[in-house]
Amino acid sequence: MENPTIGTFIAVFEEMFGRGLFWGLVVLAVVITLAYIFVLIRDRSVSWRKFLLAQLFMPIGAVAAVWFVFAITKSHLRDIGGPIDLILVLGIATLGAVGAAILVYTVQSVLKGPGPAE
């Protein structure tokens, strides 16, 4: 009957992490995403070598994200009790994987500049 609004979720996230940390994390995510887009535009192509290394970090990011959430919530893989739990774990793993890949790719590009022509 009563509907959560986007504003409610923002309020809840702010309380969860603290206002500063929450918006700090949002800014960080936006900055990394912008940097990623920036290097893509600057280099005008995806560097497959950098992408390969980035891909290697995907499983690490996935496991780290899931491990982190289990650790802060005092739970364990054995607590998965139904389909939504599985979807949630997979979602967290996906976010961790994609996040790690983007981060690694961007860091390489920013540090090393455009790679050799491929």
Partner: protein
């Protein structure tokens, strides 16, 4: 307000976002609306707990010029749903403690004393600080009183010794309860769990703590050295039939010895024996090595003496305020509202209920000041993340009708033991609670 189809879609979508983001919120009342009214009404709020603080924040942004006074002697704000986590050794006592002052809005007056008298005829509240507060509107949000002395031989200072725990008493007592439970689950013996026959806040809490004790014993490998007895005050474990059936199944699965129609009337801490009233009028003694005493509950003295309570029945004896269950407006004094645990309504003694009640009182009061009416009503929404072990819970939500009213229908199954429901209790609930206090959820 029936669900609009587009609302429903949006809600599911937000539910998915919430679940996908590894957090979830309690269902939310609409955030305080921007539109404000002008009024110089004098509004007195008794109690700055969950409900009182939330309504103070909401009214202070909705009414321009009102004189809002909140009365509460307590300097410490207590996030009570956290007591269960403290008593499970998962959080320190400080987890539930913050300062009342930090949550109150600017521009209102906080009187740091107790309300000692309410005169609804003269529309006046008197306080322990000697103030006389004349009001146009009164909102009673004084929560409830834990009546430990209602159990012969019991008092708060026994908590934390001789196997006596009590999760409800406060954060320090919850921590002391954890020490006793930790010791008990090392040693084994008889674990005795129960609930009072009165109305109580968070009727799921006694059940949760039984599950948690069982879980620790299993983790430590001592479960076969103990007996877990649960004494239900009536013929069921939970007031909502469909939930009761589920809990009964889980209790059987965990091997609890469930005894119905047993109400704790006395405790002998030296001999470690509790006495229960039985349905035939007799009594039964049960020896324990660990027990979680949950006392009878009733409205605060000032409420019981103030002529606002129901006049007959159990509601009258326990002193809950006689309000219309949908509008939360007093049935005999139309400028008085009750919100939170003190309201004499059939369901709703949880913080999650307060979250739904507060916007109703806000809208009802504002409509009344503006000389109009509103159809915004409270339908009994009550919620309780029923922990069944560390790492899993059932997100149980229901209304006056005993209908299940899941916030995330089709996504989070209410009667399944899920990790996502545990996450809601473990990380989502306090954040949602805090957002509610600020009037933002």
């Amino acid at each position: 307000m029936p669900d609009q189809p587009d609302f429903e879609t949006r809600r599911r979508l937000l539910g998915l976002i919430a679940a996908g983001g590894a957090i979830s919120a309690l269902p939310s009342a609409p955030a305080a609306r921007a539109q404000t009214i002008q009024s110089s009404a004098r509004i007195v709020i008794i109690g700055a707990g969950a409900a009182g603080t939330a309504i103070a924040n909401r009214l202070s942004t909705r009414i321009d010029g009102a004189q809002i006074t909140i009365v509460d002697p307590r300097q410490r704000h207590l996030y009570q749903p956290g007591f269960t986590l403290i008593a499970a050794g998962l959080r320190p006592a400080e987890y539930s403690v913050s300062a009342t002052a930090d949550w109150l809005p600017r521009g209102i007056t906080w009187i740091e004393g107790a309300a000692t008298g309410i005169d609804p005829e003269a529309k006046r509240v008197t306080t322990s600080t000697g103030d006389r507060l004349d009001y146009d509107y009164l909102i009673v949000a004084s929560g409830l009183e834990l009546h430990y002395e209602g159990i012969e031989g019991m008092s708060r200072d026994l908590i934390g010794q001789n196997g006596i725990g009590s999760v409800y008493a406060g954060p320090e007592e919850a921590e002391a309860t954890w020490r006793e439970m930790d010791r008990f689950t090392d040693e084994g013996g008889v674990g005795l769990f129960t609930r009072p026959a009165t109305e109580m806040k968070c009727a799921g809490a006694p059940l949760k703590y039984t599950f948690l004790t069982d879980d620790y014993a299993r983790r430590k490998g001592t479960r076969d050295r103990m007996e877990i007895i649960y004494c239900a005050h009536s013929g069921s474990l939970f007031g909502v039939p469909i939930v009761n059936e589920k809990v009964r199944m889980l209790y059987d699965r965990q091997g609890f010895d469930t005894r119905y129609n047993r109400v704790m009337t006395a405790i002998d801490p030296g001999r470690k024996i509790a006495t229960f009233r039985t349905p035939d009028g007799g009594s039964e003694e049960i020896a324990f090595d660990f027990t979680n005493v949950i006392p009878p509950m009733r409205a605060a003295q000032v409420v019981r003496d103030g002529g606002l309570s129901w006049q007959t029945g159990a509601n009258g004896e326990q002193g809950w305020i006689e309000v219309d269950q949908y509008t939360l407006r007093h049935t005999r004094h139309d400028t008085v509202f009750a919100v939170g645990d003190v309201a004499g309504v059939p369901k709703g003694k949880t913080a999650a209920s307060a979250k739904w009640q507060v916007p109703v009182v806000e809208d009802q009061l504002i409509a009344q000041i503006a000389g109009g009416q509103t159809d915004h009503i409270y339908t009994g929404y009550t919620s309780c993340p029923l922990i069944t072990r560390v790492g899993r819970a059932m997100l149980i939500e229901f209304d006056y009708n005993n209908d299940l009213v899941p916030s995330f229908p089709g996504i989070i199954a209410p009667l399944e033991e899920l990790w996502v429901s545990w996450l809601i209790k473990e990380i989502g609930l306090k954040a949602t609670y805090n957002a509610m206090l600020r009037g933002r959820a």
